[in-house]
Symmetry: none
Subunit: 224 residues, 2 copies
DNA sequence: CAGGGTTCTCAGCCGCCTCTCAGGCGCGCT
DNA sequence: AGCGCGCCTGAGAGGCGGCTGAGAACCCTG
């Protein structure tokens, strides 16, 4: 069982490494967020232990980035209890469990084993961008707490845009993924973008679904 | 699986060649940067192992040059730990992994295999020159933290200049790569350079986009 | 078969973007 | 200092990308 520990405090990192090795894990260490992200991308870890406060790139962002890349390795987050982020943030981001420092070493190992037993990470149920949310399983869309009714085609389009939120997506890509064709008149995309805007943006005075002239559309992730 | 090893120390090069061949790789050697760049351009390598300290042309520059040419072959960089460049530089430049000498041979092979598994190199997410940054996927440009709105043509021009930042780029090259023609009036380049300056330089009292009279333009990489 | 909902096509309009042109400026050479 | 060439830039025409209202075709459901 291979574990990657991303932790900048040398003493804590070394302690975790020794302890987990004693439990029979193969342990790699990373000392900042970038290194951690880099190693995690290489894959082949069964679980990540990720501190939130890290130099160069926060654990928060490492987790977000990995999930955005469809990397579903189980992640256990660590943080000081008075930190900038709290537990809800961590779990929202796609972490699978969360421990607040100081934590009991026994608890850590127990949680790690639980994660490993559970296998792959739970794919987050809901897609979000700002206060816009879409639940693929339940086929429901909300702007804030207000439910929004969408037709199947509108729903599929919004889901695709949400999965790639903040990126600019060309009409050709949209046609390929939402319509499953590539030689259709791109005007149909313009029409449906119009429909979506009238349902998810205009009634709420928002402008999440942006046109990038000559390139495509971008669903703004609302400040990151 | 074809590997190109660019390494000037004969002994190290020979050791790598023998070792990798034993693992089943087809190995070519280059002994300086220019030869390495030349061979890499011929393509057909699945991965490059690139020393940073090289005669004639540093590994740093070989990597930069390849990426500027849209060559995304996976690259694993090697360097002495006290060298002029550090890990961040290497990865910033578009290398995909990085090992510090002395390194374990087992680790090298593992990392190589990881690179090959991951397939094509990760295209660097963001292009930078000083505090100017451009994100091709998100189609966003920032001067520092201030977002800058560009038209498609302006964006394409800036992207090309950033990919070759610090180099002098002729109008003919710009026409070829940004306009995809070569017999157009070069004045259009001058016009668009003017537009860009008014958006990315003038409002910030900068002078990044410089004219090199009689030769072309250079996007200054900010003192580097 | 009727009716409502959904998908898609079409055509017109609007506004931004692109590119041309010509006059002016200034660098660098003599 | 003067000159010529290369570069800059303001103005404006035209095109093209994108938006939208209208309506036809289609598909369920009752």
């Amino acid at each position: 069982m291979r574990v990657l520990v991303v932790e900048d405090e040398r003493r804590m990192a070394a302690a975790l490494q020794r302890g987990l090795q004693a439990e029979g894990f193969a342990v790699d260490l990373a000392h900042d967020g970038e290194e951690g992200l880099h190693l995690a991308r290489q894959g082949d870890y069964d679980v990540l232990v990720l501190d939130i406060m890290l130099p160069r790139l926060s654990g928060y962002n490492v987790c977000k980035q990995l999930r955005a890349e469809e990397n579903w390795v189980p992640i256990l987050m660590l943080s000081a209890k008075d930190g900038e982020y709290d537990m809800a943030d961590g779990l929202d981001l796609g972490a699978d469990d969360y421990l607040t420092k100081p934590f009991s070493y026994v608890v850590l190992v127990a949680r790690l084993r639980a994660l490993l037993r559970r296998g792959a990470a739970r794919r987050p149920a809901v897609l979000r961008a700002g206060d816009l949310s879409l639940d693929p399983a339940r086929r429901k869309v909300f702007r804030g707490r207000t439910p929004v009714e969408l037709t199947p085609r509108e729903f599929a389009l919004l889901e695709y845009l949400l999965r790639r939120h903040d990126e600019v997506v060309s009409k050709a890509e949209i046609l390929e993924h939402v319509w499953d064709t590539f030689d259709t008149d791109p005007n149909v995309v313009e029409v449906y973008v119009g429909y979506l805007r009238r349902k998810i943006d205009a009634p709420f005075s928002r402008n999440a679904l942006q046109t990038v002239r000559g390139a495509g559309y971008r669903l703004a992730g609302d400040g990151g």
